[in-house]
């Protein structure tokens, strides 16, 4: 197979590392070779976090270059924009709509881009963009903390892998006492992008 390249973009503390771990593990479980690499910056919360995940017959480099991303999973709109240099015209993007305001904006030295600007920039960079309000869906389920699993659920409908593999890997990576919550979050996420499963 031609390697599949995934970019996971978000903010420290949003659960992007768990998501990219799950993504790499799903690759291995579905019979591919997989590698991933995280760019964390300082190990302090609140910074930009980018994870690269690659699936293929045999993957050498764990790192993706500009214009090489097939799928981007963005936990935050501004971070989705930061991922644009990695996209190409065939890329597919799933983007959470809930912003996390950086201190440069809250302190008044910079402006958060408007919804229109974000949409225009992403539509100009990739072929398909799915905006998903994963945070609201997660809050409706009981806690914003499962927004990452909602987002993964939505994202999983776009990749040709048996949903049961996804679910098994997701549930293995979360504490047992939150298993039901995460199963619900994953399925809610799938329903957001997969109308057939909505019932």
């Amino acid at each position: 197979m031609t390697p599949l390249n995934f970019l996971v973009a978000g903010v420290g503390g949003q659960g992007t590392l768990l998501a990219s771990d799950i993504l790499a593990e799903v690759g291995i479980r579905s019979g591919c070779d997989a590698k991933k690499s995280d760019v964390l910056g300082l190990a302090v919360r609140g910074g930009s976090v980018l994870s690269h995940v690659r699936w293929g017959d045999r993957i050498a480099s764990p790192v993706i270059g500009p214009g090489e991303v097939d799928f981007m999973l963005a936990f935050e709109p501004l971070e989705a924009m930061r991922g644009i240099p990695f996209l190409r015209s065939e890329s597919v993007v799933v983007c959470n709509t809930q912003p996390v305001i950086p201190i440069s904006v809250s302190s008044g030295t910079a402006q958060y881009p408007g919804r229109d600007e974000i949409e225009r920039a992403l539509r100009g960079a990739a072929s398909v963009i799915h905006f998903v309000d994963a945070t609201s869906r997660a809050i409706a389920l009981g806690t914003p903390r499962v927004a990452n699993v909602v987002l993964l659920g939505a994202f999983s409908t776009l990749v040709d892998v048996d949903p049961s593999i996804w679910e098994t890997v997701v549930l293995q990576r979360v504490p047992a006492r939150y298993e039901e919550m995460n199963r619900a979050a994953f399925r809610a996420g799938r329903a957001l992008l997969n109308r057939k499963e909505e019932a």
Partner: protein, 597 residues
């Protein structure tokens, strides 16, 4: 045989297990910290693991354990190697009956370090073998191999990863743990080998030189180095994760992939060079391989094409290789230009951070500050701009002393964390007392080693194995002879200011200890504070706290200033903003009734 997705650091921990390691020591530092954390979590019963007070102590402890017959591993980040090296260098002369391996995790690209030093030179300096894994499978296997080499040649071995090998994940086939000695002793009394006094060390040096020749000979046929023949027009010598990048950029070239990069297999390199028309050396940072290969009289190019700074990621490698005419130019398929002017998202002191009060006052008082390594280094950023030097672990107190002996007219301050103080601040403070220096050392005690992920240290009362003896800081600095010592609550703005004023007024060296638990450990669940917009006069005082929870309210006053608002999802109720607000506009929420939750 099971196959797991492991990070390089997790794989190194597994390698230690499969090598029969029984003692593992180190000091936390990104990107190396997870190795010992995983050993402590996963292999607790099999391997004794500890966070030592610093890297040198970790190395001495590992040496003592290896002298006693236990295979021992030391972990460090690249700059920790500078601290560790004094101890490493004597073990080069002594060797040890049980294997002794040091893992250094380097940081090309400086994701979390103060420099980009290339620790491969330490192997050459120390005259010891150097192994460089390229992915997680090799990270595990090379640790096992390193112990074999260490015991076969009676030498410590250096294993060098980079951030990418340590933090990337890839599939690993697991092996088994061998039988390990249950008991050891009696201690081998071989003074001529283990006492590095000049008269005996002189006899050891020729053995070190001979050992290097033996290792060179061994490297010629060792499986850890391999040739992958492809097209003969271009040959590439490379190592570590850079091999993975080069494999993608040059699918048709021939490769000499070196697993052991010191000492080098000269005949194998010469044979490879003779087999290709053009030879290039691809390595991140310094021309470590290239210099040695060129010194053999072989025509090879490396740093003439690739820079010595930063990572050499596949896209950079491809672009520079195309510019040098080695491959066809491949334009990246990027469909849109990168957006310009995106708001930066730099790390900030967390809402509820105990360091905030200190930097607020230091900024207001415009005091020169010698800084140190830790989260509190963020005090150098706006709105504080209150850290004016920062070099390495423990440097702050020595630099403060230097400012005093230079005769600086201003009173100056050193800021240092609790873990860093135990690491290397103590000798510098003793030096200040001993030399009758002056200046304030602020020990910002947040009860943990926060920046690297909350590891314990001698001041916390906990160790990597659980319960430990706690060494309280105040009696310690008093015993060192500091006369003016004040301990204050870091969340009490008035107390911090009063303590600082008192310490600044002292004649000799003084110590202010600001106590407040790291908010990532205390995780307070207090309800959020609020701002009364009718009382807020948009004076901006609370913004000077640089708290991510304090945001500008929509709209501005007539003078173009913004009132404050508090983001309820971020505020943890530390109370600092209420204390600094001059008009009382910031309100503490009513205490929650029982049964509210």
């Amino acid at each position: 045989m099971s196959k797991l997705l492991l990070s390089g650091n997790e794989a190194i921990a597994r390698g230690a297990y499969e090598a029969g390691v029984q003692v593992a020591t180190g000091y936390p530092g990104t990107p190396s910290s997870e190795i010992l954390e995983v050993i402590a979590a996963e292999y607790r019963g099999a391997i004794y693991a500890e966070w030592s007070t610093n890297e040198k102590v970790a190395m001495d402890a590992a040496a003592g354990a290896a002298y006693s017959g236990r295979r021992s591993l030391v972990t460090t980040k690249q700059v920790g190697m500078n601290v560790l090296s004094d101890a490493l260098l004597y073990t080069v002369y002594t060797g040890s009956p049980a294997g002794l391996v040091v893992v250094t995790a380097d940081d090309p690209g400086m994701f979390s370090s103060q420099n980009e030093q290339d620790n491969r030179w330490y192997a050459k300096l120390a005259k010891i073998p150097l192994l460089e894994p390229a992915d997680s499978q090799e990270a595990k296997d090379f640790v096992v191999a390193a112990f074999g080499v260490s015991e076969r040649f009676d030498t410590p071995v250096l294993v060098r990863t980079t951030m990418r090998t340590s933090h990337s994940k890839s599939a690993v086939r697991l092996g088994e743990r061998p039988a390990v000695p249950e008991t050891v002793g009696p201690f081998v009394r071989d003074q001529e080998k283990y006492v590095c006094t000049a008269m005996w060390a002189k006899k050891r040096h020729p053995l070190v030189e001979q050992r290097l020749l033996d290792l060179t000979e061994w490297a010629e046929t060792a499986e850890i180095n391999r040739v992958e023949w492809g097209g003969r027009s271009l040959g590439i010598i490379t190592s570590g994760v850079t091999y993975m990048y080069a494999r993608e950029v040059f699918p048709d070239a021939s490769f000499l992939k070196l697993g052991m990069t010191y000492p080098l297999p000269k005949r194998a390199i010469r044979a490879f060079a003779d087999g290709v028309e053009r030879l290039i050396v691809i390595e991140e940072l310094d021309p470590f391989l290239e210099e040695s290969i060129r010194a053999m009289g072989i025509d090879a190019t490396g740093k003439g094409i690739y820079p010595p700074c930063g990572e050499l990621l596949p896209d950079t490698l491809a672009r520079l290789s195309a510019e040098a005419g080695l491959i066809e130019r491949r334009e990246a398929a990027v469909s849109a230009p990168p957006p310009v002017g995106l708001p930066p998202r730099t790390p900030v002191l967390c809402a509820g951070c105990p360091h905030r009060s200190t930097y607020y006052w230091l900024a207001r008082m415009k005091i020169p500050v010698a800084g140190d390594i830790g989260c509190y280094n963020l005090g150098c950023l706006p709105p504080f701009n209150a850290q004016h030097t920062m070099g390495c672990m423990g440097a702050s107190i020595g630099v403060l002393h230097g400012m005093a002996i230079a005769g600086l007219p201003e009173r100056a301050v050193a800021t240092i964390g609790d873990s860093t103080f135990f690491h290397s601040g103590m000798p510098a403070l003793a030096n200040m007392v001993h030399n009758r220096s002056r200046g304030v050392t602020i020990i910002m005690d947040n009860g943990t080693t926060a920046m690297t992920g909350h590891q314990d240290h001698p001041g916390t009362g906990w160790s990597l194995r659980g319960d430990a003896v706690r060494i309280p800081i105040e009696p310690l600095v008093r015993a060192m002879g500091v006369e003016t010592v004040r301990t204050v609550d870091a969340f009490d703005m008035t107390a911090v200011k009063a303590g600082l004023d008192e310490c600044l007024g002292a004649d000799g060296p003084s110590v202010l200890i600001t106590e407040g638990l790291c908010v990532q450990i205390s995780k307070p669940s207090s309800p959020a504070y609020t701002v009364d917009p009718s009382t807020c006069v948009a004076c901006g005082t609370c913004f000077r706290l640089g708290c991510p929870a304090i945001v500008r309210a929509e709209g501005t006053t007539g003078e173009g200033r913004a009132k404050a608002e508090i983001d309820a999802t971020l505020c943890v109720g530390c109370d600092l903003c209420r204390q600094v607000c001059p008009t009382g506009a910031i309100r503490r929420p009513a205490p929650r009734e029982k049964g509210d939750e």
